[in-house]
Symmetry: C2
Amino acid sequence: MTHSNLLYAHSGGVTAVINATAAAVIETARSYAPRIGKVLAAHRGIGGVLAEDLIDTDALDETALERLARTPGGAFGSCRFDLPRDDGGAVMDRLFAVFDAHRIGYLLYNGGNGSMDAVARLHDEALRRGHPLQCVGVPKTVDNDIVGTDCCPGFGSAAKYLATSMLEAGLDIASMVGRKGSVFVLEVMGRNTGWLAAATALAADGDPERAPHVVLLPEVGFDEARFLQRVRETTERLGYCTVTVSEGIRRADGSLLMEKSRDPRGYVQLGGAGSAIARLLHEQLGYKHHWAIPDYLQRASGHWLSATDREQAMAVGRAAVEYALAGGGGQMSAIRRLQDAPYRWDVVAVDTRPIANLERALPSAFLSADGLHVTQAACDYIRPLIEGEFTQPVRGGLPDYRAFELPRLARLLPAWAG
Amino acid sequence: MTHSNLLYAHSGGVTAVINATAAAVIETARSYAPRIGKVLAAHRGIGGVLAEDLIDTDALDETALERLARTPGGAFGSCRFDLPRDDGGAVMDRLFAVFDAHRIGYLLYNGGNGSMDAVARLHDEALRRGHPLQCVGVPKTVDNDIVGTDCCPGFGSAAKYLATSMLEAGLDIASMVGRKGSVFVLEVMGRNTGWLAAATALAADGDPERAPHVVLLPEVGFDEARFLQRVRETTERLGYCTVTVSEGIRRADGSLLMEKSRDPRGYVQLGGAGSAIARLLHEQLGYKHHWAIPDYLQRASGHWLSATDREQAMAVGRAAVEYALAGGGGQMSAIRRLQDAPYRWDVVAVDTRPIANLERALPSAFLSADGLHVTQAACDYIRPLIEGEFTQPVRGGLPDYRAFELPRLARLLPAWAG
């Protein structure tokens, strides 16, 4: 078979378990030798494919793969890149030239909504060209907003980290109650959806007296008066109030409460909602205010992984290799929930065409009637995803993460000028 | 003995292991029954003593004490309170009235620099009055800035959390290198000293290519030009740069880079240095910028404790009870370093008078010559303090922290109007 090599690529923001997916892909692909030949990884995502910057994963022995499977971040490098539609096909031509030069018959693309669009389009392009490429999507995002899968690898660990953070910060601020009243605001990621914000509700475990007392979600228009009233009531009762705010909360008119920056391609980097909400509370109610912004920490928390999340990250990687071998180009390996308690799940193939570029928001059944919290149903959905602990080997008091050898393949094509 | 009861009080900001000290104090005091009678705890620190709001710790059985010893935050409540010097002795009179009403002969005061001032003054006042009170200080602060002890319980766990956070965020941003260059800034606590900022250097383990690439400390005047140059050089070499910034960094003229708010008593709540530095880098160098502010998360990280820190927190609590019984009023239980590697330490008594209200800054041997990082000597000092892991029992994917029963003693005095 001339195109027997497999290429794996990270796409978009990385997570605490995307390397677990990568390790599972590599291990599974090796088990199919010689049907699958070399297992390659793109350096820095699709940009590395265009640049013909490819890593030979043969350099990763079993010990290195075990380490890879527990190391946060994306060891091969990632990038944000949307396949252009207006370049006359130049990018597509280059990608297929690289696939041909390196006899790549399988492409496993590990990303979010935008990446599943790329999978669908690469698959269609392969069909159009009569090219043997099987391009399969592997889901990944802390935002948990991919349509077609019950949950997204990366979310469970970020959710566990954030719920734990709110639980612990809640114990801290409860210790420090004074006469004046105090508030604590935790700003979480999630872009346009409130899954990560909702996860912090697990800290309260259904008890309205426990942190977080308010959860502000992008799915609900921000109602300042109602919010201030709830914080005032809570603080008058308990002496303090804790608030989770999603980075992407919007006013009723749809405008973002805060927008940090917008890059030349229009990608909005969010941020600032946490300090804006904390300052609002300080100015309007006079309370002492603290806020935390975990930023990268929430999606890189390898020291406190959800074992369920990690297992799912590996399972979608393994399944994607199988789909590719079975001619399942254009599909994504998705997680299906079979049962809530005890939690049971499996992995199924879904077509990426109808799900590409969509965003799955919190369903209305997960939003409390007053718009200031989430329901028990939301907690019941999220709880199993954060369960299970993974013990990291430790060196000198810190998780024992180490650098990986990433030898590059010799380039065979002219340099890419794009 | 008429004054056989022991009173324990938290003071100032809480930590991930202050409850471990409290549990050790209670357990040790109980072992001295009937020489020590009841073991009481002040609700919300010295403010609770004034309000005669006292907790009967008999309600905490062995299981509860075990839980207390691993729960972050201060279970009995804390407060920031400086003993006034200009009230004609009204506060002192009230405190001793409460001690007498509840037959308190031992006061264990668990706090930082200001608290050691209170210990010294309460001891002197007891001597002046011929009162049997033995007031002993127990050190606690994530800032690690108490003079007279090699380190402060609370610091090791916060240091472990922050070094881990920088390590993990460093892996994340290294994955996301793009053409534009990107920076990550971690803002840490520490007030006027850079111990917590220095701790993040453990993530780099002496490798100048690894995060954090720059550590900005309050002990070094902020030199903007030199800082920008270092970040530019690093980003040109690696594609990204990571920076730790202490909340209390100052310009060369001594002014704070950012000051969030000042309460009526003059207590400055710091904050904003992280976003200020990130924005500076974005504006001056054009880099993509992210910043994290762990805030309370860094001092409440019970899910990732330093076992060494926790053991020291318990040891200073146990020793303080012994000092109180031996007539060691006015002393603080301090940690003494006997050896670096392998690390050996013990607990000794030090007089609080000469150390009260001082702040221990990073020694110059811990500051790199260029003022933009710390030395290997700093890492060698901090490393053993973050070592050892403690496994929290988990429930539903989160640390199994639960509320404590805190029954109050009946009040015997008129209400305090202060």
